[in-house]
Symmetry: C2
Subunit: 208 residues, 2 copies
Amino acid sequence: MSHTSGVRQAQKQKTRQALLDAALGLLEEQSLSSLGLREVTRAVGVAPTAFYRHFRSTADLGVALVEEALGSLHPMIRTTMAPAEDDDERIGRAVELIARHVAAHPAHVRFVARERHGGVQPVRRAIREQLARFAEEVKAELAEDASAAGWSEADLRMLAGLYVDQMLITASLFLETLDAPEEERRRAVETARRQLRLIGVGRAHWLD
Amino acid sequence: MSHTSGVRQAQKQKTRQALLDAALGLLEEQSLSSLGLREVTRAVGVAPTAFYRHFRSTADLGVALVEEALGSLHPMIRTTMAPAEDDDERIGRAVELIARHVAAHPAHVRFVARERHGGVQPVRRAIREQLARFAEEVKAELAEDASAAGWSEADLRMLAGLYVDQMLITASLFLETLDAPEEERRRAVETARRQLRLIGVGRAHWLD
DNA sequence: CAAGTCAGTGAACAACTGTAACCACAACCG
DNA sequence: CGGTTGTGGTTACAGTTGTTCACTGACTTG
């Protein structure tokens, strides 16, 4: 037990992070369900048995990766959903934000997209829980918006879910076009903007 | 080579189908990238080396599964997108159709959802190609619709892609709630209907 | 400073993997 | 009918896997 600091704890965290990083790298070309514990330790340069000091199994490591990939993303919801003068400006900002995030953390995005429906149940559940939290937060933001007057609880939830799914689709699309020619990337951005705009139009005329 | 029929060819197809079926079953609890060739042959009850008579590798088998899961689905596009008197009736019919398909072929749906972003590149590409075909077909249907007057090519493509993605999201949602209590399943159907309706509203007011 | 804690090591295990070479025998074709 | 074709079976190999156990030695604590 003891306290949270100290050279000992720091070294342990460092190794743990090295395992997470190595796993994330290896997962670019395979799924978690085929990731071997030895494979990870080999990539780090540590004995296979050291793995157990940090994770019970590769599934356990996967859950930790979900936390790392999505856990720190919640604060971004407020700023993304924050109202702007122009609706198109908000859309442009959101798309830009997603593009930037994908470019900065491609491995994390790939991991989430891949394991959301992947073969490891605990990881699927962890992702589902995080996305449900996102939807909840988006819903809360939507409820504060002026145009939400008269919207039922179920409608708000539906729209929030639609937005979250759309964010993932967009992120995944950007990921696929990461090292594609400039022109294709611009088309992807344009498609994402249009889709969000169409949802926005539907939202504006929902109560007709 | 020789001709396509005969007792010989029939038996081979039978074994091949058994391999596909066994693989599909095993893939309910893991991803393709962790599926072993021996695992599949063991489930069928044939020798490991017999696998090579039908597939070069498990990735090759995966591509065949994509064909099996999505190849025969194209004719359904026309009937699903076909216009109806009521817009809500069309939506209800489409959702009903998806629900029925998921209930009839849950393993196929799970496979596609899982491997769309999975760790096996040839399979990802095969799925992407099939989905692109779907989008193309949906776009063709949309273009024939009366309400498509004034829509640009890019807008039609965008909307078609949105519909295809939404179909997958809906199918995946239904899959998750397959063995959930009746009430949760009804909520899932209701959510799917609402989301399609919102897209429909956006579509109706797109040219404002 | 002595005692204890614990991250990481090394060897060993049984079980598993993909693949190669060779064989058997039923269906096919001339 | 007799020779050829080719699906599937058998045996074997070299690597890999997850997990166990006892261990070391640097850090922490009283």
